[in-house]
């Protein structure tokens, strides 16, 4: 009985690994994804291209300009002379933000009046624009209070200091706020999701398309043996890929693995049930490889977007958040980020583990039943 499963298992592995180019695609895409996400997926906003139009040309205005220059967030690329020039720069996309210091700036400061600065932001990249505005207002308000304190000091109140709150922040799990800490564990999860799913779906559909599935059916193999033989090899391949990517993540990208690797292993095994189940399901609704491919794609996109892989779930509308609860990727991401970054264990992750077992068990059972029915 297990002999038959083993034969099918070996056959399936041979079929995938025989093709040299296919072998490469089992190794290369995960690494490619990891590199891109490790390096490119960066939402940190630095070096915002900035133009400053200084109409005052005083010591104070230069002092303010210098604050922008010395901050790592802004890169002053231009000193335009006219508003028209600013408009052209923004339209061409050469600057994201412009700052105009009015003439009489220094005089107003000395008199204790308020000097108004004109700020223009290119809102096309909404996220960048918002963060950039935050940085600008921080620099301006810091400068403001300093000016006041300085003036008071000048006017005879020698040791005047600010009242209020001194902020001391500690960032846990990712002290330098590196994007790759967030994305690299995420990539591992997506690979564990996609690879077994695609391989399972395509392998079964290809046999159906070529007519060899019928040949297998006339052999004494039972349908559950067929299911096992068709899913286990891809689970194995997916698993190996996950381990490989995790090793690269830890050793090359230096993402800390703070928790127990065994917890991660358990989570991965539970999660594989879901990805195999979905792959099997896709194979039952597709009769050609093209159909399988499009269906995979159709499953994949919502699963990614509604998982918290790149876009935070908390900000989504409530009805969509309910939808995310049936998404296995959602739970696996919590587990994988929890073990990698937070170093938490089963005492905290058990609800996610439970959800994965239920979802995965359900998916693989229902898909196998559908698969058996389609065989008959």
């Amino acid at each position: 009985m297990f002999k038959r499963v083993r034969f099918l298992f070996v056959k399936e592995l041979i079929q995938v690994l025989r093709d040299k180019r296919l072998r490469i695609t089992l190794i290369f895409p995960p690494i490619f994804q990891l590199i891109v996400f490790g390096y490119a997926a960066n939402l940190d906003v630095k070096n915002i291209t900035t133009a400053i139009r200084d109409m005052d040309q005083s010591l104070d205005s230069r002092d303010l300009t210098a604050r922008f220059r010395s901050s790592k967030y802004f890169k002053i690329v231009s000193h335009p002379q006219t508003p028209k020039e600013i408009e052209a720069l923004i339209k061409k996309g050469e600057i994201t933000i412009s700052l105009e210091i009015p003439s009489g700036f220094s005089k107003k400061l000395k008199k204790g009046d308020t000097a108004a600065l004109q700020i223009i932001v290119d809102g096309t990249e909404s996220n960048t624009a918002m963060i950039a505005l935050g940085y600008v207002s921080r620099i301006l308000s810091e400068y403001s209070t300093e000016m006041i304190v300085k003036r008071l000091n000048r006017e005879g109140m020698k040791d005047f200091e600010e009242a209020g709150v001194e902020l001391e922040h500690r960032v846990w799990f990712n002290p330098n706020l590196e994007s790759r800490y967030f994305y690299v564990p995420g990539v591992i999860a997506t690979i564990a999701f996609l690879l077994p799913m695609i391989l399972t779906a395509q392998a079964i559909v290809r046999e159906r398309e070529m007519g060899t599935l019928e040949q297998i059916m006339v052999t004494p193999i039972r349908s559950w043996e067929l299911v096992l033989g068709k899913t286990l090899p891809f689970a194995l391949i997916g698993f190996i890929d996950v381990v490989m990517i995790a090793l690269i993540g830890v050793f090359w990208f230096e993402v800390p693995l703070r928790g127990n690797p065994l917890v991660l292993l358990l989570g991965s095994l539970l999660f594989l049930m879901s990805s195999l189940g979905i792959g099997l399901f896709i194979s039952t609704i597709s009769s050609t490889q093209q159909q399988a491919q499009i269906s995979t794609f159709f499953f994949m996109n919502p699963a990614f977007i509604l998982s918290g892989f790149a876009f935070p779930l908390e900000n989504m509308p409530q009805w969509l958040q309910y939808l995310t609860y049936v998404n296995p990727l959602r739970y696996f991401l919590v587990i994988i980020r929890g073990t990698f970054l937070k170093g938490v264990g089963l005492d905290i992750l058990w609800p996610e583990m439970l959800a994965l077992s239920v979802l995965g068990g359900l998916m693989i059972t229902l898909s196998s039943m559908r698969f058996r029915k389609r065989l008959k």
């Binding site: 891109v36 223009i120 209070t145 709150v165 799990f173 919502p302 509308p317």
Partner: protein, 377 residues
């Protein structure tokens, strides 16, 4: 090149598509699905951040400070905790993202005209969100400090100073700073890539795998005719999807289309040819549909998604990666679409991108025809 033979191939491919209504349906639904997901689900705006407070002080003054957080739309005060351990656990579980710790002498220090030291603990695992949260916290603290300082000055018998600087901000092109205005124009590029690369990647390899390519080879059809003929139907599918995407963006999500629709159409056609040529090249060199599928994902879909400036801003990437982005077509097209939609740019701003795309399209077609071997294997 004979138009009738090319047309015959195109017709045959049309029939293929037509006979598989489910795939066709999915191809038409795909733009709608992606639009809905990106329009509703994808937002990088951070609001209602879950917060826990550990207040060692408990006075009116400290509560009024906490209220500045809970009263803002950015924070959602979940609970007051009793000790550090409880806070740690809440952050570990992901129940809250941020913890605020007020010292025992908070009120006394503030009232004495000094600075009380408040501690903020952040869950940094989502670095982008953490960064934004931190800037919110700093803004609130800054405001509080300024107010208290002014109060102190008044109390010393001086007149309340006017704030020296005031920023008057104008936001161009996307006045409300909405994520959807950023994502939806770029989605047009993604959708064209799906048709062009993912779907077209299958057309030649499918014939090889099914053995029908041998039949085709035995006919007098030439390589260029075969390639162009195969391209034709997918070109139309691509245009259809483009139209659907633009329509949905305008009507459902109210993304402004400020530039010329005609310019958008013409430049999209050029990009469509680039994408199709890439798909056909993949199809010509991949031996199996599975491989074609994988290749289309890696060299077609992923770069469009990640390296084109669609989600991640190119200027934030390391410079070696920025150089690579110059080599991929979607980068230019994403720029074109965003500029036409939001900035209303005309051709005088976009001719460079267009030139590159035309070059890539011609080169791509040449490579596709060259890499297709019209002989038995």
């Amino acid at each position: 090149m004979s138009p009738s033979r090319t047309w015959a191939i195109a017709r045959k491919e049309f029939i293929h598509i037509y006979r598989d209504p489910r795939s066709l349906g999915l191809v038409i639904l795909m733009p709608a699905l992606l639009m809905l997901l990106f329009g509703y689900a994808v937002t990088l705006d951070v609001k209602k951040v879950k917060m826990a407070v550990l207040n060692h002080d408990g006075t009116q003054e400290s509560l009024s400070f906490v209220h500045r957080f809970s009263g803002s739309p950015y924070f959602d005060l979940c609970r007051f905790v009793q000790d550090e351990k409880e806070m740690r656990r809440l952050i570990d579980k992901g129940t809250v993202k941020i913890g605020l710790v007020l010292p025992r002498d908070f009120s006394r220090t503030v009232k004495a005209g000094k600075k009380a030291s408040v501690q903020v603990v952040l869950d940094g695992s989502d670095s982008n969100t953490a960064n934004i949260i931190l800037s919110y916290v700093q803004a609130i603290v800054r405001e509080y400090t300024q107010e208290k300082t002014f109060l102190k000055i008044e109390r010393m018998g001086r007149k309340k100073p006017a704030p020296p600087l005031e920023g008057r901000t104008r936001i161009w092109f996307n006045e409300e700073l909405e994520s959807k205005n950023y994502f939806i124009p770029g989605l047009v590029a993604i959708i064209i890539s799906i048709i062009g690369v993912l779907l077209t990647g299958q057309v030649l390899v499918r014939e090889w795998e099914k053995g029908t390519m041998e039949l085709l080879i035995s006919t007098p059809v030439r390589k260029a005719e075969l390639i162009i003929g195969k391209l034709f139907p997918y070109f139309f599918l691509g245009l259809l999807d483009l139209w659907l995407a633009v329509l949905m963006g305008r009507l459902v999500f109210q993304v402004p289309l400020r530039g010329s629709a005609l310019l958008l159409l013409v430049l999209s056609c050029i990009y469509l040819v680039v994408a199709l040529a890439m798909g056909l090249t993949i199809s010509a060199v991949a031996g199996t549909q599975l491989l074609a599928n994988q290749m289309a994902m890696i060299i077609g879909f992923l770069p469009t998604f990640l390296l084109s400036g669609f989600t991640f801003v190119i200027s934030n990437m390391p410079s070696w990666l920025q150089i690579i982005t110059y080599g991929i077509a979607p980068r230019y097209y994403v720029t074109i679409v965003k500029e036409i939609f939001l900035k209303g740019s005309d051709f005088s701003f976009l001719w460079r991108e267009t030139l590159v795309l035309v070059g890539m399209g011609l080169l791509g077609l040449l490579v596709a025809i060259r890499s297709f071997k019209k002989e038995l294997r």
